[in-house]
């Protein structure tokens, strides 16, 4: 199979206006993925499915990732040489910048016809609040239907063109998206024998404040 680099180059030559970038995976799996822009995702997906060299006819997995807003601290070092010949003076300057968050949907594609894969596609929303729609790939791979519904349910990504976009795990009146990082679960804490970590923090909110010690007066003889 072609490497993700080659697939990206072919996509760029086939779709000149599209933005396709390669996200490399530095881990030992080295499973690099292709980040597509939302506008061309449907056309690119159809091409990947129908291209005789790839024939990625099977979408095995659709999942979501929540990237919250992140503050990135960058340190720049400037060294000024000492005119008297001593050691150079190093000044560290820290700059903070806010990296806006987004929601990401990941598709794992295989080819049953040619027995190769996976090719990993990623789509990203504009932000996490109001620009959360992405094109649905269910018209391309029918197997995406339930999994896109699950991503809609748990992450809140709205798939444009999905045939039946409803919640699949939680009930219809449910308002939250539980897999988001800022989800606050209902407070139905119950006693826990050995709390630790997050559960301990939750448990402490439920412990009663210790009552003031009652001083027992000894009756005088």
């Amino acid at each position: 199979m072609e490497t993700p680099d080659q697939i990206r180059d072919r996509l760029l030559s086939r779709f000149p206006g599209a933005a396709v970038s390669l996200i490399s995976n530095p881990g030992p799996a080295a499973q690099h993925s292709l980040l597509l822009d939302a506008a061309d995702a449907r056309a690119i997906a159809t091409f990947l499915r129908d291209d005789p060299g790839l024939q990625l006819d099977f979408c095995s997995n659709v999942t979501g990732v929540d990237w919250p807003d992140r503050e990135i601290v960058e340190t720049t070092r400037t060294s000024t040489p000492d005119p008297a010949g001593g050691p150079a003076k190093v000044v560290e300057q820290k700059t903070k910048r806010l990296q806006p968050g987004c929601l990401e949907v990941v598709y794992h594609l295989y080819s049953v016809a040619l027995l190769h894969g996976p090719v990993v596609l990623r789509l990203r929303t504009g932000n996490r609040s109001d620009q959360v729609s992405l094109p649905s790939l269910t018209p391309v791979w029918r197997a995406c239907e339930f999994q896109e519904r699950e991503v809609f349910d748990l992450f809140g990504v709205v798939f444009e063109g999905h045939p039946d976009l409803r919640r699949i795990l939680m009930w219809d009146g449910f308002k939250d998206h539980p897999m988001r990082k800022d989800y606050v679960e209902p407070d139905d804490y119950e006693w826990e024998p050995t709390p630790h970590g997050d559960v301990l923090a939750k448990a402490k909110r439920h412990y009663p404040t210790p009552a003031p010690a009652v001083v027992k007066e000894e009756p005088k003889p």
């Binding site: 009930w171 209902p186 139905d188 119950e190 826990e192 997050d198």
Partner: protein
């Protein structure tokens, strides 16, 4: 058992009755006969939620054979069932249906919470989508711990339930729920709220535990 009044005739002990039974004389009371019959024909609802249901199915098959205890007739309809075995994880989405099944069963009815999930939420206790014990909505008679419990444990739980049925009175203040005129057998079915079930528990059945923790602990 309360002490008999001095004027009443002396009652037989269990040993004397067993001795009479060996001689071919059967002495019994209405209560004992009634409870004996009920305790040996407990029909469970054919209903499973998760992996505990697999053990429940195994208990009904030839190797463990729940038929030895009169409970082999798994009923597909709640109208014909006496026993609800809550076998598995009860998600919040499934809770109204479980309570509705319980309401549809005729009295006298009993509930077994089988496995860690049905008792307390088990390994999913900290999850947002799992009910932390079916006893928040349904009065549970027998709790069977285990993850999942072995079929033997389910059989032991069933025998404990039979023991409980045999000890029930058919009149007086100790009579079970279905023989008391002023109790309702209808349990409120929770609604789906925006964030959780509404209400999150039935306060008539379950109250949150009062947490007492010593200072410095």
């Amino acid at each position: 058992m309360s002490e008999p009044a001095p004027s009443s005739p002396p009652t037989l002990t269990d040993a004397e009755r067993a001795e009479l039974r060996r001689q071919g004389i059967l002495l019994t009371s209405m209560e004992e006969l009634y409870n004996w019959g009920r305790s040996h024909s407990v029909w469970p609802l054919q209903f499973g939620l998760a992996c505990c249901a697999i053990e429940m199915i195994a208990a009904s098959m030839a190797r463990f054979d729940i038929a030895r205890f009169g409970s082999e007739v798994f009923r597909p309809s709640p109208r014909q069932a006496d026993l609800l075995i809550v076998s598995g994880t009860v998600t919040k989405k499934m809770t109204p249906q479980v309570v509705r099944l319980w309401n549809q069963m005729p009295e006298p009815k009993y509930c077994i919470a089988m496995g860690a999930c049905a008792i307390s939420g088990g390994p999913f206790k900290q999850g947002y989508n799992v009910l932390k014990g079916i006893d928040r909505f349904i009065p549970v008679d027998i709790y069977i711990p285990g993850c999942p419990p072995r079929p033997e444990a389910l059989l032991h739980g069933l025998m404990q339930l039979q023991e409980k049925i045999r000890g029930q009175k058919i009149s007086g203040p100790g009579a079970p729920r279905h023989l008391q005129a002023d109790t309702t057998c209808e349990y409120p079915v929770p609604d789906f709220g925006e964030h959780d079930l509404v209400p999150p528990q039935n306060p008539a059945v379950w109250q949150p535990p009062v947490i007492v923790r010593k200072e410095g602990a």
